[in-house]
Symmetry: D2
Subunit: 306 residues, 4 copies
């Protein structure tokens, strides 16, 4: 398929689904996110022939939960699978992203690294003497993928830090059960920093293409072994879309990870990276517009891996 | 890869993993299943060039939870997606297969059709005036796939019927919340019947090949639309291996469904159907030997869909 | 206090609280109970000097959960404390009366004999060859207390039997975990029968007086040892008012047991038995009018045991 | 009963039950508490005729959860029932004292002020500009009851502060849901301070007598209105002994509150205050020796309020 034809499809997807934002709401639990413009909508696709984009694809927003996959890759590289999976499980949960329930009634480990509890456990595994040093491992991987320096949105970061009480509750619970080592405030600080990293929709597509090529940057440099990328891609399928992951697997069938700032990063193995953006969220925390666009695109281009 | 080479690989997998049965135990919660020989082990692969098998692949055993995917396909065909998903959700749960918890604290619908509660809800959707008529839809689809008449193991069926109290608990709970319509005893009777259907390991591979070809029998006849088969295949990835589905997705990456009699049915989309057999189960209800063989085979032949 | 003065107080309580029924609703989950007249209201007090009553105290209605204490007394007498507490615990739960949750995540035994799961376990301990024989132990104790033959409301009984799916779910769950022995349908049949026993508000007061005197009937005959009556009275305080037992302990401080047909039976140790009636229930299943009248009466007469 | 006779009974209770400490274990989750001598055992009774004591009744130890009732009385006085019960419920839970489960699946408010979550919510209601000022309200009430200045055990306080991660998890969860206002670290600091207050077994009896007399100090001065004391006494019955409160109500029937340092404070309304001490705890967190002594004493002297 030519780039022009693809562009046409993307434009039509934006036209068709943009207005669906009225069915969702901008995230309100992080005060700073409430300022997002719910009417924005964008989709970008990175493939072997480069980028095709439609809509609002150059507006910066924060990664939020999408950052979980970046840190997971760093930590798998630093610590190895065995150590990571001694702290966090591999199973989808069916629970909301901020649930604490299973930590009490099920096993000690958070069930997977995509729910907040699991992602916080992953953060605690970052190697480094200081928060800055540990966080630099995350930003430097992302910088290599994106080919630019990485920044955080200071307002969002401070807002999360000031109000992220549920995440602190999860972290202290994990501290109590021995899953989380080190200083709790430092660990949640890392978590809030990674959530606050700024990207654009086009850049999500670029990260997706990095995953689709199993770990090779656009420069041609291999940044990670394929096994790590495959593992992360698998998690994107089983639990990347919060407790709508099963529904998304059926309707789109593409590995994807969403964030509450409105981004969704998707990767069609061996083919494309895709980014979508739309700040209005459904009740489970996924971008209403992004979710629909990806389902529709998958149907039109037959992208499901199943 | 030639059939001879594949046969060699399968033989080596049986040799290597057969003894792992000592780490598991034959299912005991259905009295009749306790009689299974834990040392049996088999693997069969159906591909475009036919069947390759190694080990105990012609011993008959009961489908148990593997039957859930057959009935789900029948019901999706009979009722359509919309009606099915009004009764059962699409989300993996992280809970044990017989859990009742989420029915009380989460939404009314069972979270997915692969846990017992969901499969029972699916059974209640079978069309027909009598239990026999409804069950005939299940057996006739399977008969067409297998090219033979389908029977149940009467001892296992009676054993499940006499002792399946947890499944009755789930069914009555669903009756109370309005998810399940019709007579509860008839619905659980259907469920016990489907669990008691007899197959061999080679036949699991044949069913798997039917899924891999998106719904075409060996006769060349299309039995179901591809969309239904894809949907079922997706559920096999997100919740086919009980609450080890996430782990299996990472380690094998193949759509698969296991049953507590020791069978695992797997389907590599567009390529193979695979059946494994080994009655000794791990703590989550999956065949110890089958689980390992499939992970190893996937690694050797690079079968992961991720 | 003279009987005339007490009568005046009871009349004023009815006058003051009768209209509160508009804040509740007649139980709807048992179809037959929906026919109850929500505007009825009555209170009766039995003391050493006999009965004082105000309002609708001679209308027959079904015991519902109030029957749990009758059967518990019978079973404690038949089986002894040790055996009873091997099947049901002594702890309040904070959960709704029909909850199944704790049976999965907490211990095997239902937490107490006042929630449905626990009461069903208690029913399964009744001695006798047939359902009739076992039920006769319950009715004969009650007949001795009331000085009349005991009947059930056949319509309500049939209605519960036809629709008591949640109770069947609880019973089958208990059967699965080995708490409940014997035939599940027989046990729930016993449970539905005891729930359907007909009494009047005045008779509730008489049963309450039997408890207040620690087991002596109006005839002067001791029907049960004081230790059994004390035990049951204790349960009435910690879990007699469903998951409003704590609130009721604070506001009224009187051992009491409510039923969803609108009755509340209360016993002030060494002093009075009290019955109230008012079919409109609050969200937790207690009679709105009865709850308020008892709190008010306790305050006026300083009846709290605390 | 004369003081001499009572003394004889208390001595025999110590003799009979002291060795039961081998069936329990000193609390280990607060490192400093591990140093407790498990073999200590004491009981003290304060009545109208003064103190009778047997065993180790003058050894200082920390109040731990017993402090919950002191702070609850202060806060009820400062804020009034309505405001307190808008933050914490009145219902027993059946859950372990440090459970977080119900905060997610049940209502927003902790179910009662005796579980840790509820006690932390109560702490957040103390009035005052600084932690010191707020804590002074707690210590000054206790000082008036005890007739001496009140101190905390600095080692225990620092130990709890350094390791009280589960309590922080609870507090941050409550902060997230809006139940807890103010600074979380200050609130848990208050909680750790109150837990670290030093008392002796004899002094527990004195506090118990204060409750038994509905709020009058030994000096004859009324420190609190009877309604507040009655309310707190009620909570001691329904949830004072962690998730063994129901069992204790049946076996002893005395309002009581236990702490994990080994103390139990009991109050027989209108009669006695009782303190017991024995650092070895059962699996639910109650002093093994204290629990048995109180059950036995209640039986011998017929102290049950039921």
């Amino acid at each position: 398929m030519g780039q022009a034809h693809l562009h046409e499809i993307l434009e039509s997807l934006i036209d068709q689904h943009r207005s669906a934002y009225t069915e969702g709401e901008v995230a309100s639990y992080i005060p700073e996110l409430k300022k997002g413009n719910p009417a924005l909508a964008g989709i970008a696709v990175w493939g072997p022939d480069g980028l095709v984009a439609a809509g609002d694809t150059q507006v910066p927003f924060t990664l939020q939960s999408i950052s979980k996959i970046i840190t997971l890759m760093v930590v798998l590289e630093q610590r190895g699978e065995a150590e990571v999976f001694s702290r966090v499980g591999p199973e989808p949960t069916g629970d909301p992203f901020n649930s604490i329930l299973k930590l009490e009634i099920s096993e000690r480990r958070p069930l997977n690294p995509m729910i907040n509890a699991g992602a916080i456990a992953v953060c605690s595994l970052l190697i480094g003497n200081t928060v800055e040093e540990r966080f630099a491992h995350v930003t430097s991987l992302l910088a290599e993928i994106l080919g630019r320096e990485v920044f955080i949105d200071e307002q969002v970061y401070q807002s999360e830090k000031a109000t992220g009480h549920r995440n602190r509750a999860l972290a202290y619970f994990l501290k109590d059960t021995g899953v989380l080592e080190g200083d709790v405030e430092e660990v949640v600080d890392l978590y809030f920093r990674q959530c606050s990293i700024l990207v654009t929709c086009e850049e999500l597509a670029r990260i997706g293409f990095f995953l689709a090529t199993k770990g090779v940057a656009l420069t041609g440099k291999r940044l990670l072994p394929p096994s790590i990328v495959r593992l992360v891609t698998t998690f994107m399928v089983t639990c990347g879309m919060y407790n709508a992951s099963g529904e998304f697997a059926i309707k789109a069938g593409i590995p994807a990870k969403s964030g509450v700032a409105g981004g969704i990063l998707a990767a069609v193995p061996g083919q494309f990276g895709i980014g979508t953006f739309g700040p209005a969220l459904d009740s489970k925390g996924n971008s209403v517009v992004g979710f629909r666009i990806l389902c529709d695109l998958s149907r039109r281009l037959d992208l499901s891996i199943f």
